[in-house]
């Protein structure tokens, strides 16, 4: 029986992970932490009669709160043996705040969490969600990438991707640790019913217009949030460490994905976009999303054979269009 800590359980993928773990009979206890108050969907998990789920508000980007968490009596009493780290990915609550609230914090959280997992003797496994946008993309509409593919270490990489690369490299460094089993799951664009998009450096977050270079329409590998949660559960119960690509069976061009998720993409000449992106960086203007980058020109799909072989993970959800309650066509995910 596993006893699991889930970080950022108040954000969409974290919520989904908690729900999936809750319905897994092999999980004895779930200790969920997040920045904000517990999501309303957790009400039934947190009801008086059920003690399997506990929720706490913790700022994981600061050393003291994380240290307090790992040394708290509640944490010790829960006898956590597995930590599931879902880095922050959701939109900030306020309209004025940036879409993903703090890229530097994402890296800091990963570093602190890894450090405390290494120090806590009772924690045996760390399962972390990463982004597949960390890979270096070669020219081409589609690149098939496996776990050994090169990471994009270009200094000009958009900050959103940079923070994922930093997290990835921190975890990568401990994959062969003798005491702590580290599993890193690299997911492409995550979509959820209703047209929600996560982890895509440009499309994720609130709806609205985005720019893309004219003449390019890269293929985006997709995975549903439910499949991500299933992969996390598989990784929790697996025995070996490793890095795994996870992806669904669908892939869509960027323009179509944007349309299906209620967003608009405006094609502008590539050089203009590059200049605008550089200008924004020089002036230090915080941008809602990555303005320019290889991910807007070159597409990729993921080779998931390793996850299939070693974790037994196969995507179950189909991703397509369906008519929502308001009559509008929206992207939906459903079990095949």
């Amino acid at each position: 029986m596993k006893r699991v800590l889930v970080t950022h359980a108040d954000e969409p993928i974290g919520r989904r992970a908690v729900k999936t773990l809750y319905h897994d009979s092999r999980v004895a206890a779930i200790f969920a932490v997040g920045d904000g108050p517990p999501p309303r969907s957790f009400d039934k998990f947190l009801s008086d009669g059920d003690t399997r789920v506990t929720y706490a508000r913790v700022d994981l980007a600061r050393h003291r709160p994380v240290s307090d968490l790992f040394h708290s009596s509640a944490f010790r009493a829960a006898e956590i043996d597995t930590v599931v780290h879902v880095p922050r990915h959701g939109a900030a609550a306020s309209e004025q705040a940036p879409l993903v609230a703090g890229l530097a914090e994402r890296t800091a959280e990963t570093r602190l969490l890894l450090q405390h997992c290494l120090e806590a003797p009772e924690v045996e496994s760390l399962v972390a969600l990463g982004s597949a946008f960390v890979y270096r993309l070669s020219p081409g509409n589609v690149n098939r990438l496996d776990e050994e593919s090169e990471l994009d270490l270009d200094p000009d990489v958009p900050p959103e991707i940079r923070s994922w690369i930093d997290c990835d490299m921190l975890l990568h460094g401990e994959v062969h640790n003798d005491r702590l089993r580290v599993v890193l799951l690299r997911a492409p664009t995550v979509v959820a019913s209703g047209g929600y998009v996560y982890l895509h450096p440009t499309l994720s977050g609130r709806g609205g217009r985005r720019l893309r270079p004219a003449g390019f329409d890269p293929i985006c590998a997709l995975i549903s949030d439910k499949d991500v949660a299933r992969a996390i559960v598989r990784a929790v119960h697996s025995t070996g460490p490793g890095i795994y690509n996870i992806a669904g069976s669908e892939a869509l061009p960027l323009s179509l994905l944007a349309r299906w998720t209620g967003r608009e993409t405006w094609p502008v000449p590539g050089p203009v976009l590059s200049l605008a992106s550089r200008g924004a960086r020089i002036t230090g203007r915080a941008l809602d999303a990555a303005l320019d980058g290889p991910h807007l020109r070159y597409g990729f799909t993921l080779d998931t054979k390793r996850a299939e072989r070693e974790l037994g993970f196969r995507p179950l959800d189909r991703i397509g269009m369906a008519r929502a309650g308001d009559g509008a066509l929206r992207l939906e995910t459903a079990s095949a």
Binding site: S138, P139, G140, N141, V142, N143, R144, L145, D146, S149, P213, A214, G215, F216, D217, I219, A221, S249, E250, A251, L252, P253, L256, G270, Y298, G299, T301, D303, K305, R318, G320
Partner: protein, 383 residues
């Protein structure tokens, strides 16, 4: 070593290969097989030797299989110290219906009227290439975009290049295969004509997935068009994935060297890259050599300004009788007659198996054999 030990047989074949190379006569593998095209083939003897070794090994293996108990036959044939071989995935290969099995809907719009019934059946079959009947496959192929582009290229096929072709029976009806062709003519109309020819002359229809140069991926609009029509950027992973999917892959091992050949090098193959042999061996796919006659004449290059091409980051800076004098229009191909010939498939994987891909000298040698075969096809078709 027992006679039934397959690992021993593998080493034996390797040692034969090593023994077959007389060191004092200079390296035969990697040398130009065209240097003595009229004389005796300097490599034929080695191929014969390898062939004989393979046949002997097969005979011994089948004898051993009959004699040995079941447990012994099932033992891992790989030596323990070798790297694990890549096993083709168990993904279901797309099964395309035959033309007779397709029920055609009523023609809609101008495009269907231009296409004709045969082409419509072919395009309807191609939509089965996309898993789960989605709009795009994971390489970006779109049956709908292909349907829209098809009339234009079909018109070029019939009216401009007046393509004649032969040897379609040599292209496997199903399963993975690698088509290896010569490449010429500045713009890749030879690839487009091959794709159309195979689509129209195979049943069930086969879509040739051409491997295109990475440079094409940087070109706005063109990269999208290529991907939507089923062409794929030439990376190792893409190539392997297509073959594992049971697709027909069209490669031009000459690369950009082929398209920038000057008029003096017409119909003379440039050196071949070898990656396609590796992938064919690993995926157990036959190699079908083919020749396209006419592409070398569609835009004869008088001179290639290589320094200018390097400066501009282009694969070639050609001077032809019409380019640059007529501007971009000068790049358009002349209305030459095309002839496409498919040769007999080469089943290297049956002789050498996936293990052969690990031997760089063998791979180079086999690539040269393919090159020789394609050159012979070209020479025979022109005469």
């Amino acid at each position: 070593m027992s006679e039934a030990d397959p690992a021993a047989e593998l080493f034996e074949t390797e040692s034969l290969l090593a023994d077959a190379e007389p060191r004092d006569e200079g390296p035969a593998l990697g040398s130009d097989p065209f240097a003595e095209l009229d004389g005796p083939d300097p490599l034929a003897e080695r191929l014969e030797l390898l062939d004989r070794a393979w046949r002997d090994a097969q005979t011994r293996r089948s004898r051993a299989r009959r004699a040995a108990p079941i447990a012994e036959v099932r033992a891992d044939p790989r030596p323990a110290d070798t790297a694990p071989l890549r096993v083709p995935s168990k993904r279901r290969a797309p099964v395309l219906p035959t033309l007779g099995e397709i029920e055609l809907p009523e023609p809609r719009g101008l495009i269907d009227r231009f296409l004709g019934e045969d082409a419509r059946r072919v395009l309807a079959a191609f939509s089965h290439l996309v898993e789960n009947e989605g709009p795009y496959d994971r390489f970006g192929f779109s049956p709908e975009v292909t349907r829209r582009a098809f009339p234009f290229f079909q018109a070029l096929y019939r009216g401009w290049f007046r393509v004649r072709s032969e040897g379609h029976a040599n292209v496997p009806d199903s399963g993975p295969a690698v088509l290896v062709s010569n490449h010429a003519g500045l713009l890749p109309f030879d690839a487009a004509m091959t794709v159309i020819d195979l689509a129209l002359h195979s049943d069930p229809p086969r879509l040739a997935r051409a491997i295109v140069d990475r440079w094409a991926g940087t070109l706005p609009w063109i990269n999208v068009f290529y991907a939507r029509c089923g062409q794929v950027i030439g990376t190792r992973e893409n190539f392997a994935d297509l073959l594992d999917d049971g697709q027909l892959v069209l490669v031009y091992p000459e690369g950009v060297e082929g398209i920038r050949k000057t008029i003096a090098q017409r119909y003379r193959l440039q050196s071949f890259r070898v990656g396609f042999v590796e992938q064919a061996l690993r995926s157990r796919a036959p190699i079908v050599p083919m020749a396209v006659i006419g592409s070398d004449d569609q835009a004869p290059i008088l001179y290639d300004l290589k320094p200018l091409a390097r400066m501009l980051g282009l694969p070639a800076a050609p001077i032809t009788p019409t380019f640059p004098w007529l501007g971009p229009l000068g790049l358009l191909p002349y209305p030459v007659r095309y002839k496409i010939v498919y040769g007999e498939p080469l089943h290297f994987h049956e002789r050498f198996g996936p293990e052969g891909a690990e031997d760089a000298r063998l791979v180079r040698y086999l690539a040269n054999q393919v090159r020789r075969t394609v050159q012979q096809l070209i020479d025979r078709s022109r005469s």
